[in-house]
Symmetry: C2
Subunit: 539 residues, 2 copies
């Protein structure tokens, strides 16, 4: 007996219930009519997109989603629709999956395992279900599970023992580098243990800080991958099961790590800009590598006609910086403007002369330059309705080597979670596809160009040392003692982690960016600003 | 038989384990030596201060707290010390209370009810305990509970039935207007049901967005309040129990609602500024009511010598604005500077002339003025090490009537959660203590003074209508339909809520402020920026 299961890997706009339900209906009808599917499986909380956050507390929002699910049930007949939705009950809200068949609700499953760590706050919103849920199509018994459930030891086995021939899993599993490999490996393990085939449907697309990478897949009962959908793209696929076994079909190859991060960033920029309704994007192009990479990402995400750049030289800007910036802008075919900042800097210097009398120059004067650039960029953003992309990287965000309201100004920070060394790797990767970033930008020592002959290395440990220290401290929760024991110079470690500790206030006011590491700043790392913790004192 | 229980209502710096444990030791010894107490009870997670957030994931931090608790046990003898600490176990972390007696751990209680709503994320960090915990001092059986536990129906009764003569509750219960009354009423109800006296010890002081109001209390078995500590101040008190019954002693009166909010804001400013190590504070004084109130708060919090103000008139600033600002600065005895902004505004206008050719003036030009002020204030803040206080109120934050990196610039936003009408009430209250805000500032129509003859009412519904609409929408989760049905004009409701929906991105980059309502922006209200939700479409 043949059973065809369609996997609908879609990119939703969170909380746009009307558009999402329309998309679900159209996709289910395509699965029925074009693919001959018996079942069409959508992702976790498909009706709302994931994560709807505190909108889940609004009764009007819940009512709207409930009506939309009823509408889908009515409009799609002749195929079972399996989708995730917030289920309102007298005892509270559940993160549920429903099976809709010919206008009626066939069964509902309530997510058992609610993640409440990292970027997840599901116990803020949902009660945990405790039951399994099976339904039968053409003699095949299918079990419903949702995301975290299948990472939990024993959940697949429990469903198998209850009689499941195939397990369906609805997911909204966010990306970080290496996540796809981790995800397949862990779930493979569970599948092997239970000896039951599994259909895994993931959401795809960017949502604020999160990127969902798609890459939905089907494993046979031995854990072998018999089908994989593309990463970072919508896809409607179908897998045929004969005698409960999936027939192998196309497995999209996985990107390598650097390529996958690049794709995540491109889709992240595209989705943030377009889902928020901007006409395009602009950024300050300095001739340095960070803004060079962000320009490449923006053009790859939006097209050259939607992007413009502004060069804002000061008296400290080297000629080669402007030359390289213009070269890249021309290579990538984007419009560029040159607006020297010294008139505004000089105006502020004069205005502040009296209150700054008898004080020595310090970072204040550097910050004024950065903030003049911020004013210009924001003015252009306001006037044109284009979003300002911030170009700071994770190393800078970690140690606060950035000016609040200056180079930190902007609506979205594409490489906020990308450490500096990875900025280089991504730039080289992008140039390997086609050369867009001038080689000199990649080769020269990084500089903020806010003071004469300034280079980053004047203020910070070399990135070859800084980045691994930061990773150990921020992502690994290692102590200063442990990091030093791993072979890093005590003075580098002390300097780096004391800067991380002291700059939480800056990060709190930074624009959102795309999580690509195991711990990004933002909802993923919730530290107090007011804090007596000093990592340098820890043992 | 007499038993004396001391209540230690203290203001901790979160994560300053060394200072906190020193404070705990000194306080316990005072309770023993000066008050003759048998037990000294501290607040929830006293050793770390509340909330330590993701620091709880750091092994070095947990090690440090564990050692500190052991150190307290050794250093304090001759009195039982009851304090909250994060308890590391093989199966995970608990939010626990420990009783230390003469160098040893007498017993440990693990919090049963872990709040994970509103500002709370306790299920992110802790496992829930399931047991009760009793200990005996001088023949009296005492039960341990922690915060949320005693809000839960039946928890006190359970302890009473297990043999408790008195229940101790360790708390970190944050303030909002009316919270103290709510807290006493709910807990009174539970005490009456269980007929057991209760000792309630709360943390006091500001921690980022949260204010802990103290007001620790003791209820007798009938629910009558027999002792109450001050609100918004540290206090070490003692209550004597004879035959398990507390002897009535001093009950500090409660502030009325407006006064309590004013006190919360004063302590919030003081704690944020001093705990973060700033030398003082500065702010832009416009002659409007928001900055006038923030100046009053800052002076009351820090003293006039620690505060300075900057007047930054533009060509749209009316003379009376500057006059009133200078009058208030002089009345309050703070240093003021006058820095007209037009030189910088004109510089930017010229620099942008080419890119803005053939465009009409819009809010872009208004934002440039606000951002020039931001640059000046931040430069002064950077140069002097004084924190910039942001003067925006909750009504503005709700509808986005503020300029990102302009008037929104700053390290702390004292009245961020204070709606405009309450700004007036607080100003009048402050003037009733001593007249510091010129009457004309309170009487004149509010204006941003960014365009000729501009008043807020040009862009927004009158605050008498706007504020209740916002409260219903933001705090009450009401739909547009419900708000209109309550009697508000449809056009006002639609305008207000569509502005709230669209301005999440601005709020995300705003500085922290003090929560004083039932739902503040920040950790208390977690909305997606990228969102298809439109409150105006909801039914």
């Amino acid at each position: 007996m043949s059973l065809k299961i369609a996997l609908a890997q879609l990119n939703f706009l969170v909380a746009d219930i009307t558009a999402n339900s329309h998309k679900i209906i159209q996709t289910a009808l395509r699965a029925r009519d074009e693919l001959g599917a018996d079942i069409c499986v959508f992702s976790e909380l498909a009706i709302t997109g994931y994560p709807p956050e505190d909108l889940l507390f609004r009764p009007d929002f819940i009512t709207q989603t409930t009506l939309a699910v009823a509408d889908i049930a009515t409009q799609v007949q002749g195929i079972d629709v399996v989708l995730g939705f917030p289920e309102a009950t007298a005892e509270g809200l559940y993160n549920s999956a429903v099976v809709l068949r010919d206008g009626a609700v066939l069964c509902v499953y309530r997510k058992n395992c609610l993640p409440n760590y990292g970027v997840f706050d599901e116990q803020r919103y949902f009660k945990a279900g405790h039951d399994i849920s099976l339904f039968t199509v053409k003699g095949v018994t299918l079990a419903l599970t949702i995301c975290e459930d299948v990472w939990r030891e024993g959940m697949l086995l429990k469903n198998k023992q209850a009689g499941a021939n195939v397990v369906l899993t609805l997911n909204a599993s966010p990306f970080h580098a290496g996540k796809m490999q981790l995800r397949e490996a862990i779930i493979q393990q569970q599948v092997k243990q239970a000896a039951v085939p599994l259909v895994y449907v993931n959401q795809v697309g960017g949502q604020d800080e999160l990127m969902f990478d798609g890459a939905s897949f089907v494993l046979d009962q031995h854990g072998a991958c018999v089908m994989r959908a593309a990463e970072f793209a919508e896809q409607l696929s179908v897998v045929e099961f004969i005698n409960h076994q999936p027939l192998p079909t196309h497995c999209a190859p996985l990107y390598n790590e650097v390529a996958s991060i690049y794709q995540a960033l491109v889709l992240g920029v595209r989705d943030y800009v377009t889902k928020n309704g901007f006409h395009g994007a602009l950024l300050g192009l300095s001739g340095g590598i960070d803004s060079a990479l962000v320009l490449a990402l923006a053009v790859d995400a939006l097209g050259a006609d939607k992007v413009e750049v502004v060069l804002m030289p000061s008296c400290y800007t080297q000629d080669m910086s402007s030359e390289d910036a213009i070269t890249q802008a021309q290579t990538m075919g984007v419009r560029h403007h040159v607006i020297p900042i010294m008139p505004a800097v000089n105006a502020f210097t004069e205005m502040l002369a009296e209150v700054f009398a008898n004080t020595a120059p310090d970072t204040t004067e550097e910050n004024i330059q950065a903030r003049c650039r911020g004013v210009i960029l924001m003015a252009m953003s306001n006037k044109q309705g284009k979003i300002l992309l911030t170009t700071g990287n994770k190393s800078e965000m970690s140690v606060g080597y950035a000016t609040l309201y200056g180079d930190m100004a902007g609506g979205f920070a594409p490489i906020k979670d990308v450490p500096k060394l990875l900025v280089y790797a991504l730039s080289r990767y992008r140039n390997s596809l086609s050369p867009v970033i001038p080689e000199r930008v990649i080769e020269r020592p990084p500089s903020a160009e806010l003071a004469p002959d300034q280079v980053d290395a004047d203020s910070l440990p070399a990135y070859e040392h800084l980045d691994p220290i930061l990773e150990r401290y921020i992502e690994g929760d290692q102590s200063a003692h442990e990091i030093i024991a791993a072979g890093f110079k005590p003075e580098d470690v002390m300097r780096a982690i004391s800067l991380v500790d002291r700059n939480e206030y800056k990060r709190r006011q930074s624009p959102p960016g795309i999580k690509i590491t195991t711990r990004a700043f933002g909802r993923d790392r919730r530290f107090p600003i007011t804090s007596g913790y000093r990592g340098i004192d820890s043992k």
